[in-house]
Subunit: 245 residues, 2 copies
DNA sequence: AAGTGGTCTAGACCACGTC
DNA sequence: ACGTGGTCTAGACCACTTT
């Protein structure tokens, strides 16, 4: 592999090309979440570039939380099994300051056809098969979030309510393990809404209580949207924490 | 300058030490926001290290939005005058998808003594002098946010309501220009609350309308807290956008 | 001792912006 | 033509982990 010259219309730095090749390998399942990838030196030989160039590619993938470097041990494919990954996608902290692990309680799971909004958010055709999940998130036995998720049916074909209930771990670790779908990034749109009666009951708050409405679109490799969800957060005992930097 | 050995109890990589020295120079006002800093080669000579080491230090400062590299031109001290810096600290987008610049409308500005909460959040002694600002944020003539800010009195001594009203630009660009205080990062805690009567009137919504309560602590160099604010956001036409990555 | 990532250096050349 | 940051290389040595 050689650096292209400015003459090339598709010019990009060598380390970016290496980064793409590594991403391809990841997407193709050559190295699975939790496993180590080859050493920098091996990859340098494989791609025919210097170790420094591989290093720079891995640096970026590492800062994007796609790979994880561990000195002396190697470089690993990031996994949602890692408890540190949890807070990345669930930015809820107790208002008092303590710590407690969330417990996911799946309520329903059914098939449907994509409406206009779901189709747009998931990047699929209207009328195509989708899966809808409703679920509760509890902290220390107390319900804090009620979620509704929309997933593309083709990707999550064999998903059932039982599978969700039998799994103890995050949804994303289930998706990663059972469906080979690893969430890379997401964007959330947050608004304030009043609790409707059914929601209020599930969360144990009064009707019309202000709640956070958190709408998320999550993406896997190649910026492909594979989840659209809307959560209603009770912020009596927890708040959404965001670090601006 | 030389790399320390593992024997040293204060071991840190050379490039981290260079990074600290650059931060010191920034904090000391050696290079002001918007200005360029010396070239990598000059800094390498000044600090007695290789260009690559300076480069790595600047890389990190650049990824933290403290410096800004421009190929062919040089490396610049980031400034809140840069319109791109605005969205970093105000993650509001129109729900329709259009674009419009916010306009800040200062309402009040007065002196007070720090209570327990303000003292804790600003890292000052209880009873010390603080400044409180109330202000409205409008998008396309419509009020969307009402803010209350708490600032340490010693840092912002000469601040007046007139100064705020005469300034057209963001608050942070005022702080940077008039008080030499540059905000580096902030952390926000978001909850949902019901609008009180006075707030509802200012935002043009009904009493008890659900609003976002966004509480922010902002930090300058050396992780020193220099602002505590609470904003109430009307999310009828705008929503808070957060990218999880 | 061997293998991994982490740091540091020196030098070559490219791409961008200004003079 | 010159100066700036951006890329790429090759090699040395350090720090951490495992064998």
């Amino acid at each position: 592999m050689q650096p292209m010259t400015r003459e090339s219309p598709t010019f990009s730095p060598l380390y970016q090309q290496i980064k793409s090749l590594i991403l391809q390998a990841l997407e193709g399942g050559e190295w699975l979440p939790g496993q180590s990838i080859p050493s920098e030196q091996d990859l340098a030989v494989r791609f025919g570039v210097s170790q420094g160039t591989v290093r720079k590619a891995i640096d970026e993938l590492s800062s994007e939380n796609i790979l994880l470097r561990r000195q002396g041990k190697g470089t690993f494919v990031a996994s949602h099994h890692d408890p540190r990954a949890l807070f990345r996608f669930l930015r809820l902290v107790p208002v008092g300051g303590g710590v407690s692990q969330p417990v996911s309680v799946p309520l329903e799971c059914w098939r449907a056809r994509a409406g206009q909004e779901a189709a747009r958010n998931l990047g699929v055709a209207m009328g195509s098969s989708i899966i809808i999940i409703r679920r509760l998130l509890k902290f220390a036995e107390k319900p804090v979030v009620v979620d509704e998720l929309y997933l593309p049916g083709d990707v999550f074909q064999s998903l059932t309510l039982e599978m969700l209930q039998d799994w103890n771990g995050s949804l994303y670790s289930l998706f990663e393990t059972r469906f080979g779908v690893r969430m890379i990034r997401a964007s959330e749109r947050i608004r304030a809404v009043a609790a409707e009666r059914a929601t209020a009951e599930m969360l144990g708050v009064k009707e019309y209580t202000p709640l956070l409405s958190v709408e998320r679109i999550a993406y896997t490799y190649g910026d492909r949207a594979v989840e659209w969800r809307r959560g209603l957060y009770s912020t009596a005992d927890h708040c959404y924490l965001n670090e601006l930097s």
